[in-house]
């Protein structure tokens, strides 16, 4: 009789196991002939399960016509209860997109752009082609223009229509020349409009809000605090500063303070939302900053071990 209605109410589970197996969330899941667990959980509907006298949707013990019918009725009631609660009790979560925009996270990975130097107005790109090498879909093409003081990018093209927005180019850029923007509105009727050259990448950078991540910031977030070496390209001094501030920051209780210690290597004022935006990276920053005061020898052994 338990095969009534084509097994409509049977849980999809191999029936012959003698000991209670572990459910998805580590609770005991009762099997056909095993002992009944503290509560029979099917893996469905854990979000709406109330404690104590909760009704499991599919209970294996129900046998026979009336058992199954009762079980079905309960399941139907619960399901329709959830939708009814949604209907009357919960407000819509819709954001009316073109009119209202939600706050995008600071690590938003959107359209790419090239940056200018703020003081001199020169481009930051030195044409080193690191982004071209690391790009997985190979959409970046750079040509270097050699000069006396520094190098320039003669051409810089980015085929945005094939970009996979992995942010690797931002991570490797030694001069923070390429960044991501907090915009994703790429829709266009002509694919060629997404083949971005240097000028358009510059223009995009001026037009939209930049994401938090730059090459220096990302590297600082991942590296352990280092003693000043003086050989860094232009932020050698600031890195040393990070190593000095780290122990001081670790003394402060809050994680935001620790992030300020590690994150303000480049700029003295880290934007405050950055601390909220990225969970895992914050944790990493805390770890980095909370490391014991940087004895140079210790840091070195760590580095060699890596």
């Amino acid at each position: 009789m338990s095969d009534f209605m084509g097994g409509l109410s049977k849980p999809p589970e191999p029936p012959t196991r003698s000991e209670p197996s572990r459910g998805v969330r580590g609770r005991t899941r009762e099997t056909r002939d095993g002992p009944r667990g503290p509560e029979s959980v099917t893996g469905f509907g854990t979000g709406t399960q109330r404690g104590g006298g909760s009704v499991a949707v599919l209970r294996d013990g129900a046998k026979g016509f009336w058992g199954e019918t009762l079980q079905l009725a309960r399941a139907v009631g619960r399901t329709m209860g959830v939708t009814f609660k949604n209907l009357v009790a919960r407000k819509p979560v819709t954001v009316m997109y073109p009119d209202v925009r939600r706050q995008y996270p600071d690590r938003f990975r959107g359209v790419l752009a090239l940056t200018y130097d703020k003081e001199t107005g020169e481009e930051n790109c030195i044409g080193c082609r690191l982004c071209e090498y690391i790009c997985p879909p190979q959409v970046i093409k750079v040509e270097m223009l050699k000069a006396k003081e520094r190098n320039w990018a003669k051409h810089f093209t980015l085929e945005l229509y094939s970009c996979e927005f992995c942010e690797l180019c931002v991570q490797v850029c030694p001069t923070d020349a390429i960044v991501m923007l907090k915009t994703f509105e790429l829709a266009t009727s002509d694919r060629r409009e997404l083949l971005l050259d240097k000028d358009r990448l510059h223009a995009l950078g001026l037009e939209h809000e930049h994401s938090w991540a730059t090459g220096t910031r990302l590297r600082d977030m991942q590296a352990p605090p280092k003693a000043a070496r003086g050989e860094g390209h232009r932020d050698g001094a600031t890195r040393g500063e990070a190593a000095v501030t780290a122990p001081a920051a670790a003394a402060k209780p809050a994680g935001t303070a620790a992030l300020a210690g590690a994150g303000s290597a480049e700029e003295s004022a880290t934007p405050a939302p950055a601390a909220k935006a990225d969970g895992p990276s914050t944790a990493e920053a805390v770890k980095t900053a909370a490391a014991p005061p940087a004895a140079p020898g210790e840091v070195k052994t760590k580095e060699t071990a890596e």
Binding site: M5, L8, T83, N86, L87, P92, T94
Partner: protein, 332 residues
């Protein structure tokens, strides 16, 4: 009235037909809003202030402007006739529904029989569409629909006959007038038989209209859009119209059979409004079910019909007959 009866009937039919089509259009908007709220969304919003009330009109205009594509290999006659053959029975069922005493196209003395017979004809148009499209998905879907609708028309008819037995008449206005009085509706009467009959009626209705969770004839992963996969433009719109008209028609019938039709507090002219509210209530019940469940398998659908619903509805019918006989013609 000096008009000949045929002209009167024609005018009444014209009014009812247009009212039905307008109602069907707005019922789709209602369903979309309702479904959206169940999923914490807003639903149609931009076309027409407030809350997108012009959306059905916009949809109809869009469908009218669309290109009408006929597959090269289609059986043209069957393919082109199918939407009409599908729509006509679905709209025709409204002919026999009285919206208030004396307000309706034709209050037949076998009204419910007419309703059940005509609403079952829908399957012809559906299968014509599946066959005429000359598309394997459409054909498989139409065959599934045929076996499902035939399975569920039986319990549908049996449950719809319970109020007939209780009221002792097949005329729909008589059935309503048998439900007067406080708690006189058939849902509340006959010692719980009415509630069971209404539930069985709802399940059979949902299944006979191929709605979720019994909507196996439309499956994005295997059958695409089912029997209407090859239809576009206005033909598609006619099929959709027919489907919703059928749902609305059975909602009206459910409200009439079990919820007392136009009976309600207030003056007599409020009757049609009560009836409409009750029908919308039944429609929302069906919609609520639709947005709560996932679909079930083909064999389970057939098993539910033949093993559970059909015996249950027969038992209900027999119990109702027994109750009427036991009370010797008095109100049950």
């Amino acid at each position: 009235m000096t008009l000949p009866p045929l002209a009167q009937a024609a005018i009444a039919a014209f009014i009812v037909l247009n009212a039905v089509i307008l109602m069907v259009a707005y019922v789709t908007l209602l369903e979309r809003k309702f479904a959206a709220r169940m999923q914490s969304r807003i639903g149609p919003y931009y076309v027409g202030w407030p809350h997108g009330w012009l959306q059905p009109i916009a949809d109809a205009l869009k469908l009218m402007l669309k290109e009408d594509v006929v597959p090269a290999a289609a059986d043209r006659w069957v393919y082109n006739l199918a939407p009409i053959a599908f729509l006509v029975p679905c709209v025709l069922i409204f002919a026999t529904i009285p919206f208030a005493p004396g307000l309706g196209v034709a209050d037949l003395n076998i009204g419910i029989l007419f309703f059940l017979a005509v609403s079952a004809l829908e399957i012809v148009g559906l299968f014509m569409g599946g066959w005429g499209s000359n598309n394997k998905y459409a054909l498989i879907s139409a065959m599934r629909a045929v076996n499902q609708i035939i399975s569920y028309d039986l319990p549908f008819i049996f449950t719809a006959l319970v109020p007939v037995v209780l009221a002792g008449s097949m005329q729909l206005s008589e059935i309503v007038s048998a439900q007067t009085g406080l708690f006189g509706w058939f849902v509340f009467r006959a010692w719980g038989l009415g509630v069971l009959a209404l539930l069985a009626y709802l399940v059979a209705t949902i299944a006979a209209e191929n709605r979720v969770p019994f909507d196996i004839l439309e499956a994005e992963s295997e059958l695409v859009a089912g029997f209407r996969v090859e239809y576009s433009g206005m033909k598609f719109a006619l099929i959709q119209l027919g489907e919703y008209a059928h749902i609305l028609g059975t909602s009206f019938l459910g409200a009439l059979l079990f919820l007392g039709g136009w009976l309600g507090p207030g003056p007599a002219w409020l009757g049609p409004i009560w009836f409409l509210l009750k029908a919308i209530f039944v429609f929302l019940l069906i919609t609520w079910v639709r947005w709560s469940f996932v679909r079930i398998r083909v064999d389970q659908i057939l098993a539910i019909s033949w093993k559970l619903l059909l015996p249950l509805s027969i038992v209900l019918l027999m119990a109702a007959a027994f109750a009427v006989a036991w009370s010797g013609g008095a109100r049950v």
